[in-house]
Symmetry: C2
């Protein structure tokens, strides 16, 4: 973050016609946007686009979810048809939806709006071996970097993370356990809503994977290779790309939190571009946000993914920036300051 | 709330392409909107307007704030000039700003966008006698009812509460103490940011007022007469009017919470129309929301008033309604349901 713009933002907020500090958390966001862009007031974060990375997970074979794997591809078709919750939210807040096939198991027909960037047709079962090769992890990261670059080149001033991948909360839990040191039982949630028996199995699956691979958090590419997901790797790339372009990224839920932990291990400065859009109902997400030191903007027990939590936060981030442009100072408005 | 539309809403949410319950709190809002409107899907809550009721407070003379009283009128001019935070937020979320002078102490010049509905030039100091007469309280309530009626007649599908009144968190604290039974020390906050000495005085002012008037919560008009504010009374009217018109109202902060407690004492069914937009940093607001049984949508330590917290919540409420219109069912989208 640029210290000069950051300082200017805080100074400006004191002169604006409102009690000092009265916008709470939004004042912190305004200052972050100024520091990130090196401008005060910072550019309005619009237009904005949500990148939804879709991928499948070999660990699905271990019975960690009640949903069949083909739902990943079916939901991609639903996104492209405009029928999913992310579409409704994007319509409401005026964001573009960009869908990227980075690793769906099924073959997806070529459709307008779908970026075909399949690295492999789903990861391997990480309870039996590595989820992917190192080369695949790097290629998936590259897909994310390129997506960030293309979306910013197209004029977007804010990016939002989204993902779709049946079983991907299992992968997210494994990544979060690696980076927070928490026990799998603490960070493995119920995802789409599984019963106690399946949840116990899911915890054991994460535990077995960590015992098998013993991933070293200091080697983030190796962590992704061992227990990552293709959409997680792509989100890591999106964060790296956005931060390099000084473009804010609103993080969605638990999978984005997991990706942010990996991205920070690659380049700590990536966090300067990250805004936590929401706090999901997944316990691992809380652990991730705490480890990242990020406070979420929206906290409404959502647990859907697809970028939905990030989309709800977008107008809040835009409002924080807009205040810096449009609100009068005490002098200019002829308002008396407090004694 | 209409039971049939409410039931239809919950049924529809189960068939939509998302895991059951995955939208958390927003599913409750969607159902409330359906029950309120008697339609499923409910109408989209747009366009929307924020009604900002401005009034002054005789209790200002007791030294409960560091801001001079003339700031109320100056900020009204700022709203009308488009230079306040509420204007920036309203621009961002596409809401209309409607400013109503229900009791500003100073004479305000006639300006486009300002509704002149002054009941009296500020309340009397309620540590010395009643804040207003019963007739004035009823007239201020009527101003709110008429504002709701006019804004709905103009096509608005959602109303938001806003207020401006230097010293009005003192009034709000008194009202909340009456309706929650809490000690004044628990529900009296620092408003715009006062120091310990002034805060101690503010608590004592509330305590003295309650001892003087001993207001009976079962007689809400008498409560307003004794320790109310003109903008509080007008907000009571706005809530009553909106509920009668089956139009949702997004509540802003502590003053709206105080008004909702009074409105509920007049007509309990008013709560069916109320959505808590945010939770402010004021301790009395938490007490009010708890007593009302409302969960706030946004919780970012804002303490500004002007409708700012309600404006931030508007896109969330609109998103909740939009989902009911636009999201495909499992059958229609060809997505397999979970096992």
């Amino acid at each position: 973050l640029d210290a000069k713009a950051l300082g200017e933002a805080w100074e400006r907020q004191k002169r604006m016609t409102k009690p000092a500090g009265a916008l709470g958390m939004l004042e912190i966001i305004s200052a972050q946007l100024a520091g990130l862009s090196r401008q005060c007031p910072p550019p309005l974060p619009e237009p904005a686009a949500v990148a939804i990375f879709a991928g499948d997970h070999g660990v699905h074979a271990q019975g960690v979810t009640a949903w069949p794997q083909e739902v990943t591809g079916q939901m991609v078709a639903n996104f492209l048809g405009g029928g999913a919750v992310c579409n409704a939210f994007a319509n409401q807040v005026g964001a573009e939806v960009c869908v990227v096939d980075v690793g769906v198991a099924s073959e997806l027909p070529s459709t307008p709006g779908l970026l075909p960037r399949k690295v492999r047709a789903g990861t391997a079962d990480f309870t039996a071996g590595p989820a992917m090769t190192k080369e695949e992890a790097l290629r998936a990261i590259e897909v994310g970097i390129e997506t960030a670059r293309d979306l910013v080149a197209a004029g977007n001033k804010a990016l939002l993370t989204g993902e779709m991948g049946i079983a991907n909360t299992t992968t997210s839990a494994a990544l979060i356990a690696v980076y927070t040191g928490a026990d799998p039982a603490e960070v493995t949630g119920r995802g789409t809503g599984i019963n106690d028996e399946m949840h116990a199995r899911k915890v054991e699956v994460v535990r077995r994977a960590l015992e098998l691979h013993r991933p070293d958090p200091a080697d983030p590419i190796a962590v992704l290779t061992a227990v990552g997901g293709l959409e997680h790797a792509a989100m890591v790339g999106l964060l790296l790309g956005a931060a390099a372009l000084r473009t804010p990224v609103i993080l969605d839920g638990v999978s984005a939190g997991a990706a942010a932990l990996v991205a920070r291990a690659i380049a700590p400065e990536v966090l300067a571009a990250c805004i936590a859009g929401h706090r999901s109902a997944e316990p691992g997400h809380v652990a991730a946000l705490t480890a990242l030191g990020l406070r979420p903007l929206v906290d409404l027990d959502l647990r859907l993914g697809e970028g939905t939590g990030a989309l709800l936060a977008l107008p809040l981030v835009q409002s924080a920036a807009r205040v810096m442009h449009e609100v009068a100072t005490f002098d200019a408005a002829g308002v008396t300051e407090k004694a």
